[in-house]
Amino acid sequence: MSLRLLRLPLAIGAPAPRLQLAAPRLAWAGRVMQATWTPRFEAVRAALLAVELEQLAQGAISASAVDCLAGDVSALTALLRPRELAAIPLGAYAAAPPDSADPAAVVLNYRFALVRRERLPLLVEALAADDLERLLQLAAFPACCRAALVRALAAGEDLPLAIHAHGAASAAGPASWDSPAFSAAGAASGSGPASAASSALAAGPAAAVNAAASPIEANALLQPLGIAAVAHVPCSAACTASQALGCERLERGSAAGHAQAMAHLRAALAWPASYSQRNGIAEVQTAALRLVQESARREPQLTYRWHPAAAASIAAGGGADAAVADRTADTGSASPIAAGHSAGVAAIAADTDLDNPAAADYGFASLHAWRMRQAAVVWEQSRRLRGGGSFIDLACGDGYLLQLVEAETRRLSVFGLDRSEAQIARAQRRLPHRSLCLRHGDIAGLAAQAPAGGYDFALLRPEDLLPLPEPERRHSLRTVFGAARQVLAYASDQALRRHGSLGGLLTAAGLAATRTPAAADISAEVQPLP
């Protein structure tokens, strides 16, 4: 059975200029929240309906109202009959079921006023006279809430989402929005803690943070879902009459055997929540769910936050930001380009390392091509390199590849050799902690520079050997293989174009791969051809 309790026994379409009755769209904050709270909400709604019907039956209130699907009318009748309650149809409206994804799946909803039979004439008379004040009185609205709602509806407020939030928000002070109705309501209730509100409002003209240490029962932001201790529309979160009625209702519920449901209700009402209205859209957000509904009002922009835990901080001058500090926690990063910091911006503006003009000297059409090839070599050989040891790049250029090798593992000591003095200078700037291991020279001088025991890895560009006369090339290879336990080789774009493949290049240089490389490989461990 789907019954939505909303204690507003008003005919659809009147007297409010726009009576928004469709249930708001809802989104849960995660599957766990949904799985946990959906059945709890159902239990709470059932308990609150039972309490409402008992209050009607006992005469504590004279009238209430429910929205009911066409298929549930007989079930509603079954609930009313034993309590001697009557239902008066107030109208019908079509709306998509809240849990339906199909926009065409519209169902008919009826709205009924509920009333004790002997008070039926009073309700009929008030409805016929379109006497809103009287209707709200029959629905047991406290005087302050009655007056506030009458003024709000006259001012064109929507129901139910916006009106509830406005009612709740009025505790933050009359200056938080420009609705004459609710400005007056807040003042009339006399319950808004002005000093706390003024510090909350320092956040800005359109923001208000509830600074009142009100009991949880007054949080009306979830009332559109039928989840509220207060059945009527409270004029403010700090309305003492509403709080008393809310507490009384919770106690009634517990006494009537719904203690568990009332405990769930208390927990939900204690959730931090925010209401905002902007450009004709009203939204309530909590940590468990959010609701959205169109609103006829486009002005003013209004933000209201309910955050019981922060109330004390705000009252002590903490300001509105304190109320939401938990939602904007500092991520505590150490990125050099962290936004908003002048040092970070300066770091961004500094020269990049992408200014080396020597790519063509190393067989590449651009620096990007050179860099990407060096990265690809390290990527292909990384598993081998992660074992650690010593590594020398025999044509190290500006040291970029060595920097990447060093980043693979701290267990690697890197060395560099290059025939270009300018590139070695660049490499020393890149790797200042390795400046003594970066030498200007060629392979002929390798043996003299090798550490005791030699290198674990040497990285060779076979194309650098091709211009050498045969005896010198053989000598160079002997030097390299004599100085390193494993020799790795890779090719530039220019060499690959010239020799067709890495294998072709290796053969031309008097080398062979120790294992047949994959077609896409651009590096391999090599050995000299016999």
Binding site: R298, H368, R373, W379
Partner: protein, 388 residues
């Protein structure tokens, strides 16, 4: 529409300073659920091709990755993955080939240009960037050229860096990359993106420069420009989500499946650090509000490009409030103007200049009021508007 499968939720191996998932990542109170059967059941229910997404999708263990790819190949004949590329290894590339996986790599440029995609230290960031570049290069050499997503920001597209970025894209083109997706950096309160954002003039300059570059590189396509041009011609059948009437409560362009099989929304709309589930029913409150709200109050009233743009992505909305139009409005407007002028010069009538534009707007907003939507292509054809 696309289905994003997020096996490990927001979990990632790097921490991009502008990542829109930072809020939910930090707010997470518990590890996300992980259930391979749950994911497969959700995918079966949706019955559409999916893209493995994150966080970082390659943090998923290899056996499960293969199971998911095998399912995707069997059901849809194709797979897709979006990754930062830093974790791609040789065996992944083998999986990509065997299971027909289209790979998208998010990379903002070479070396320092990618520094905003922070990996915890300068060294680790450099390594992650280099590994991503290496993987990209390898994929191209294997004949599996990936698409690349580049987010434009102060670190890669301001001043002289724009020329470096353009040079890098030229190189990507040279090695076989054919598609580059450009994103404008989205400023969020829950991350460190503020100082990274290019201003509107810089964004527009960068996009115009890259559009010029596109014309010089045959075969390379920036999706953005083609899509905007198509939107002006009411050809929106395959446009990306940002041009559709996205509802932050039930994001249309992106539907997510989390690691436990639960459905989720596009993470770009999670501004408060809460990953709300998708609402069962789509709504058009945002588009209706934008259409009626003056531009000085964050709306789109009177904009001749509204039908094409619709306020753009709610995840990039001004002040992080999905009810407002995109913070990149001025940039999109400038680009739409460029394209509009060029179309007119070529003798085509963009929808923005159609005398029936108002009728199209009235029809579409009426549909939205009724909870319905229609593509521009269908709408203009139905109304007999010439732009289509």
């Amino acid at each position: 529409m696309s289905v994003e499968l997020r096996p490990l939720g927001d979990r990632c191996n790097i921490q991009c300073r502008y990542c829109y998932q930072e809020g939910t990542r930090h707010a997470a109170a518990a590890a996300p659920r992980y259930s391979l059967p749950g994911m497969l059941a959700a995918l079966e229910e949706l019955g559409e091709p999916f893209v493995l997404f994150g966080g970082e999708a390659l943090l998923v263990r290899d056996e499960d990755l293969e199971t998911l790819f095998a399912y995707g190949l069997e059901q849809h004949g194709i797979n897709a993955i979006q990754t930062n590329g830093a974790l791609i290894e040789a065996h992944h590339i083998d999986l990509f080939r065997r299971y027909r996986v289209r790979v998208g790599i998010s990379l903002d440029g070479p070396g320092e240009l990618n520094l905003a995609r922070w990996a915890g230290s300068a060294g680790r960031t450099r390594r992650a960037t280099a590994r991503a570049e290496a993987a990209l290069d390898r994929l191209c050499r294997e004949g599996l050229a990936p698409s690349v997503i580049v987010t434009l920001h102060r670190g890669n597209a301001a001043g002289e860096r724009l020329a470096l970025l353009a040079g890098w894209i030229r190189h990507l083109h040279a090695i076989g990359v054919q598609r580059v997706r450009l994103h404008l950096l989205e400023v969020d309160t829950h991350n460190d993106s503020q100082g990274l954002r290019l201003n509107d003039a810089e964004n527009l300059h960068a996009l115009r420069s890259l559009r010029q570059l596109e014309s010089e590189l045959p075969g390379l396509r920036f999706d953005l420009f083609r899509e905007m041009r198509d939107m002006l011609l009411a050809r929106d059948a395959v446009s990306s989500c940002v041009w559709q009437a996205c509802d932050s409560y039930a994001t249309r362009g992106v539907r997510g499946v989390e690691g436990g099989g639960e459905r989720s929304n596009c993470g770009r709309t999670h501004k408060g650090g809460v990953a709300y589930l998708a609402a069962p029913r789509r709504g058009y409150e945002r588009q209706l509000a934008l259409y009626a709200t003056p531009q000085e109050r964050g709306g789109c009233a009177g904009c001749r490009f509204f039908l094409m743009c619709k306020g753009n992505c709610p995840g990039t909305a001004l002040e992080g409030d999905w009810r407002l139009r995109s913070e990149h409005c001025a940039t999109w407007y400038g680009l739409f103007e460029d394209l509009e002028t060029e179309l007119a010069a070529a003798g085509e009538q963009p929808l923005s200049q159609s005398p029936r534009r108002a009728a199209c707007e009235a029809e579409l907003t009426a549909l939205w009021q009724a909870g319905l939507d229609e593509s521009l292509q269908s709408l203009t054809r139905r109304l007999g508007v010439a732009a289509a």
